[in-house]
Amino acid sequence: MNVVEMVGITKRFPGIIANDQINLTVRKGEIHALLGENGAGKSTLMNILFGLYQPDEGEIRINEKPVKITGPTVANKLGIGMVHQHFMLVEPFTVTENIILGDERSKFGLLNIKKAEKEIQRLSDQYGLKVDPRAKIADISVGMQQRVEILKTLYRGADILIFDEPTAVLTPQEIEELTEIMRRLVDEGKTIIFITHKLKEIMSTCDRVTVIRRGKVIQTVDVAETNENELAALMVGREVSFTVEKEKKQPGEPIVKISQLVALDHRGVRAVNGLDLEVRAGEIVGLAGVDGNGQTELIEAITGLRDIESGSIHINGKDMTRFKPRKVIEAGVGHIPEDRHKRGLVLDFTVSENMVLQSYYQAPFTKRGIIQNGEIDQYAKRLIKEFDVRTPNEHVPIRGLSGGNQQKAIIAREVDRDPDFLIAAQPTRGLDVGAIESIHRRLVEQRDKGKAVLLVSLELDEVLKLSDRVAVIYEGKIVGWVDPETTTEEELGLLMAGGKKQEVK
């Protein structure tokens, strides 16, 4: 039986057709993936199914009956639940309080928390969620919080669950657990729609996949009859290479020399603790490590955003220890920050304004204190073209661009300033394969031009694929170097876990 049928759905926004005659059929008891690049129209389609948007054209049938979904409450009544990417939980409340929020079943105005707790415990046991109904949200892990979101939909009687990019916030282990939970849910008769752009997860979790590109359905395929390469090609509209073309090169002189660097984190603990690192011209050094081992603090110390306790940083032979950020930038350091929204962009500025975030004060962008908007627009136009940033024009606020295009804009800005030393922190976090490919190409291009590149990433695949040498950081120190060609995941994993400390664990 088809539990969800969306027929000929069209949704227009000013200047863009987000959904163009989309047909989607979801069968009972399957995990159905919705695959597409950022901005392809997946979220719009699901927001229509959840009643947040009204389609301009088309029909929706739930359990083979035509329906009009005018709001989330209507969706809930039809048995549709949504697990949002960004959790909507009240931190100081308990799990139970959060779940009944908005659906408080009371008698004479009195809540029966005990009864709700029991019901939640029962649901949790039935689907193997292992959630404690009395725990406070603030005290439980992100993975647990997500399960609370799942419970919320189950408590409201959902049979069709929409998961909106659920793995973006999870650790690899939590992802595995989520996969199991999803399997259990469909075993118990639920149906799942899974929005994602990660191919691996589709292959390991889903039954069928519908690929959407630029607002149109490209194809619906059985996962068993496809592979990652084919899906990637369907999604992006061309062949995608998963390997990075990279010639062997002899690196040149050291550009960056960091010695015995010490920097404190916000709690005053030594996050960078006597670190030595050298990056040479024409090489990519990958920095591998478990999140929170001083990577962020190291980058901030190099770029002047964090105070240095002791030690030194030399770039091109010049002592740059304790330089202010602007001095570091002027000395030839480019920085793709790990969090593009926090540091990398002023979201309310236009694309143009963001392209000159560091260089606005220099000629030709400023003359005698006056900003030269014409020059800035010209410059932005060139970068948009060269780096294939998809935007209606250079005057729109950069907030409206998709994540991949925002990141491309940052990379355009940093690369075009032609720095001798480029720091790329999590350069592809949250991006789809098409964007990842282009960003990887840019980084290798910098290396080939004889620049020094420091790649900091939590994605081991990425570090191994791009780097010429890999340094492993653990508790604020470089604990070992490995050759990406010959190393194994075991060797890396051991180093990342602190080598000798492994035995104590």
Partner: protein, 356 residues
């Protein structure tokens, strides 16, 4: 295409403000009916008496002048991410500094007034420096500090009048003509009204704000810091300096407002029982004007008309002035709660949104 939409968006902001004004006046009218007055007669009296006689027009402009400047002060701070609620205090020290220079510095005509105006602007800037500094260096919220600074300004001003400028009296003497912003030809033009050169200063300030915020390097920095201080820091901007500077520019506008009010309208400095309210009205003006120079000019004109015309309405239609304060409040409520746009939007079903 996109530009068209952003322009339409701006138009709808303007339209929303306009509708808010009408709704606010409607609420005032309902109140009047409930209290047994004729609203048509009252509003008629209000607008006729505010605009149609040269004298009244001059007085209305006189009322608009300080509102425009305090509105700009609040708006420019908003633009850079700061809520300067201390405009009132900066206004008061601006008044005080201008009067001190007016009374105590014997300067030739013309130069005297210029010096007094500059002194007022500087005093406002200095008064705003402290909250700016505390915000930048210690992270203290500017709202708390500026509220406190308002009281300090009020009682400092009173103490200066009482102990230094006019011992024993309840106000200072009049400033000499050399320091006054009142000019004969302008008064004559408006039938002897107290309109003064301050309006030109205020209009110039609006232009300065536009150029400063949108056309200069400094403005780019201030906006970047206002929107996202972390990104500004990453890009090499001096965030602390920007915060302090932004507060000082805002304070300077407020100080100018105080100076022109003192030098143009009053000509002396009294001991004040309470705040003037002009600084606080600036918040309303900035809000209604959507923090743009043109918007602030229009909003200050409206509030000036209501304020001055409201006073006359009391005499001519017998409707108490408090009704006008209700209209003020209702307009602000509509604007602040964005009620009009809500109505618009729910009808257009979230029409203007580009990201899918």
């Amino acid at each position: 295409m996109q530009q068209l939409f952003s322009r339409m968006n701006k138009m709808s902001t303007f339209l929303a403000s306009l509708i808010s004004i009408v709704l606010g006046m409607l609420i005032g009218a309902i109140m009047m009916v409930a209290a047994g007055y004729n609203p048509l007669e009252a509003y008629n009296a209000l607008f006729v008496s505010a605009l149609f006689q040269p004298y009244d027009l001059g007085e209305t402009i006189r009322t608009v002048t300080p509102l425009l400047l305090t509105g700009l002060a609040v708006a420019i701070a908003f633009r850079t991410g700061l809520f300067n609620i201390g405009v009132e205090g900066q206004f008061i020290v601006g008044q005080m500094a201008a009067i001190i220079v007016g009374l105590k510095l014997p300067l030739p005509s013309g130069l005297h007034a210029v010096a007094a105006v500059i002194a007022g602007g500087l005093a406002g800037a200095i008064w705003a420096y402290l909250p700016g500094l505390l915000k930048a260096v210690r992270g203290v919220h500017e709202v708390i500090i500026t509220i406190m600074m308002n009281y300090i300004a009020l009682y400092l001003s009173n103490a200066v009048v009482f102990h230094l400028l006019a011992p024993g009296a309840d106000s200072t003497e009049k400033i000499p003509d050399s320091a006054s912003l009142r000019v004969q030809w302008l008064s004559d033009l408006f039938g002897g009204a107290r309109v003064h050169l301050g309006i030109l200063i205020a209009l110039a300030a609006a232009f300065v704000m536009y150029v400063l915020v949108w056309r200069t390097r400094l403005g780019y920095e201030l906006r970047a810091v206002g929107f996202n201080p972390l990104a500004a820091e990453y890009a090499g901007m001096n965030v602390k300096k920007s915060v302090i500077l932004s507060m000082m520019i805002s304070g300077a506008f407020a100080g100018l407002a105080g100076a022109v009010e003192a030098l143009g309208t009053n000509g002396y400095l009294p001991i004040m029982n309470d705040f003037t309210g002009i600084g606080f009205d600036g918040i309303a003006v900035a809000l209604l004007g959507a923090n743009t120079p043109v918007g602030v000019i229009l909003a200050s004109i409206l509030f000036g008309v209501l304020e001055y015309g409201g006073g006359n309405m009391q005499f001519e239609a017998g409707v108490p002035f408090e009704v006008i304060r209700v209209v003020f409040a209702a307009i602000i409520l509509f604007v602040a709660a964005n009620i009009v746009e809500k109505i618009f939007h729910s009808r257009r079903k979230k029409g203007v949104k580009t990201n899918a």
